[in-house]
């Protein structure tokens, strides 16, 4: 099995469940069960109604590109450069930080429709990435 280069997230009470969802192929969004407000990144309390009760929904994976940066230096082992990091406005209304794949750096643009692809490292670690939406122009 290939050596893992990727820094793994620590799994605490407030975030471990989210990565478990990702491991099973889903992009989760935390939801307050009292007032239904969605929130990301996950937190133990709802900032709107202060309820500690929450569950989650599974995002459709569709969204638009809010901002991006293309990283050239420094180059950390294991990542492919230029590395495109993006903010995605998910159609559910929350925003997510991720990587854009299957797209040339010169083709990245603000507002472009994107869709999730679940990336899997050689060691089996999974994390949501995005690619240009297929058939978005249709």
């Amino acid at each position: 099995m290939a050596q893992s280069f990727r820094m793994k997230p620590p799994m605490g009470e407030d975030n471990g469940w989210w990565w478990q969802e990702a491991a099973e192929g889903r992009l989760a969004i935390q939801r307050c069960t009292q007032c239904q407000t969605l929130r990301h990144p996950p937190r133990p309390v709802c900032g709107e109604c202060h309820s500690f009760d929450w569950d989650h929904v599974t995002a459709s994976g569709r969204g638009t590109l809010c901002s991006f940066t293309i990283l050239h230096h420094p180059q950390f082992p294991g990542f492919d450069y230029p590395l495109i990091i993006i903010l995605v406005d998910l159609e559910e209304g929350t925003r997510f930080t991720s990587q854009l794949v299957n797209c040339a750096p010169e083709d990245v643009s603000f507002g472009m429709p994107v869709e999730m692809v679940m990336h899997e490292d050689p060691d089996g670690f999974r994390l949501p990435m995005f690619q240009p939406a297929k058939g978005a122009a249709a």
């Binding site: 820094m7 990144p41 050239h72 230096h73």
Partner: protein, 389 residues
């Protein structure tokens, strides 16, 4: 009625070490050099220092420094969080202590082997699952590991929205590099920068190039805060503290406040502006020079808007008009700043603020009544207004 902190305290001493890429000495030694230099500058004995304040990122603890420089009883010791966001925050804590009688003479310090030792942006690791570690873990697995990558995400959105160009960023870098030409302490001394050099420099984190980034420096800086009365009896012309505040706003993260609705402004800096103007009873028209926090060039343009020197999206126009230059509307970072003097995490920008009030900058503009200094951008931050006695 004026605010109870206004003009109660002053910066009476500033102390700096040599700035280099390899100090060859410990960070404690740098902190001690800077502290002793600040005492010498003020004409006050180190034994009279009864408070020490630094950054949580600083490796030198208050009591280590106190013992090293021969201080006696301490009545105040604390560290301020959030990287460069701590800069003028250290001054706020000193001011509150001195104005309330808790302490008399407080040293705010930052000393770092920022190039030869632990460099910034080397990633986070650890075993304990803290909320801070979880915060970073939304970015680290994607390879978003450096301050440049976090700042670039906001800068790109801002520049796209308002039509800010690479040349505009270059103008900021060049303006500050020009100032460095008269400052022998500065990294950029004797190394002028042209727009051609700027545009040809390597792209690091689009839209940011090499020259949009601050230095990495070994060095230390200390600022001595005391009461206004005491400062008047010491060696230097006091830099009166008209107002000093910390500011953090809704949705605040460290460097990655990506989840606010709008990403093309700096809400925490706008709050700092509102609070510091309120406390000082001053407004943007009263400010004659500035040392705006400049870890990245884009931050300068955005702060011109945060502090009300122009409207939203007009920062680039001020820069194109030469506002930041010596004969401009707002001479900024006249020592070269973090971009071209040294990166002492903003502490050296506070020192230049005091020099501008004393009239001793190597690029001294005429008639400086008030100087604005800010803390780190994209983090919980703060602002300071210094004035003539």
């Amino acid at each position: 009625m004026s605010h109870f902190l206004k003009d109660k305290t002053a910066i009476a001493g500033i102390g700096l070490t040599e700035f280099s890429k390899k100090s060859g000495v410990s960070e404690l030694s740098l902190a001690a050099q800077a502290t002793l230099a600040a005492c010498e500058d003020a004409g006050l004995q180190p034994s009279e220092i009864d408070g020490f304040i630094s950054y949580t990122l600083d490796s030198t603890d208050e009591i280590e420094l106190a013992r090293t420089v021969g201080a006696n009883d301490l009545k105040l010791f604390t560290k301020v969080n959030y990287g460069g966001g701590a800069a003028v925050g250290t001054i706020l804590h000193a001011v509150m202590a001195v104005a309330s009688g808790v302490a008399d003479n407080v040293i705010c310090y930052r000393a770092m082997n920022g190039r030869s030792g632990q460099r910034m942006g080397q990633g986070i690791s650890g075993q304990i699952v803290s909320s801070d570690l979880i915060h970073w873990s939304w970015y680290m697995p994607y390879g978003m590991l450096t301050p440049g990558s976090w700042i670039a995400m906001i800068a790109n959105k801002y520049m796209h929205h308002y039509g800010v160009t690479s040349e505009d960023l270059g103008r900021v870098a060049i303006s500050q590099r020009n100032y460095a030409q008269t400052n022998p302490r500065a990294f950029g001394y004797g190394k002028p920068l042209t727009m051609e050099d700027y545009l040809a420099s390597k792209m690091v984190a689009e839209p940011l190039r090499l020259y949009d980034f601050c230095q990495e420096t070994d060095g230390g800086c200390a600022i001595l805060v005391t009461s206004a009365e005491r400062a008047r009896d010491l060696k230097q012309k006091p830099a009166m503290i008209r107002g000093v505040v910390q500011a953090s706003t809704q949705g605040q993260e460290q460097m990655t406040s990506f989840y606010r609705e709008e990403l093309d402004s700096l809400p925490e800096m706008e709050l700092a502006a509102r609070l510091v103007y309120q406390q000082s009873g001053l407004g943007p028209d009263d400010i004659n020079a500035a040392c705006l926090y400049d870890a990245f060039t884009s931050e300068i343009i955005m702060q011109l808007e945060s502090f009300g020197f122009c409207g939203r999206g007009e920062g680039k126009d001020l820069v194109r008009d030469g506002a930041l230059d010596i004969d401009g509307r707002l001479p900024n970072n006249t020592h070269g700043g973090l971009l071209s003097e040294a990166y002492i995490h903003g502490m050296n920008n506070i020192a230049e603020g005091a020099r501008l009030i004393r009239g001793t900058s190597t690029n001294q503009p005429k008639g400086v009544e008030h100087v604005l200094v800010s803390s780190g951008v994209g983090v919980p931050t703060g602002a300071l207004i210094l004035g003539q006695d």
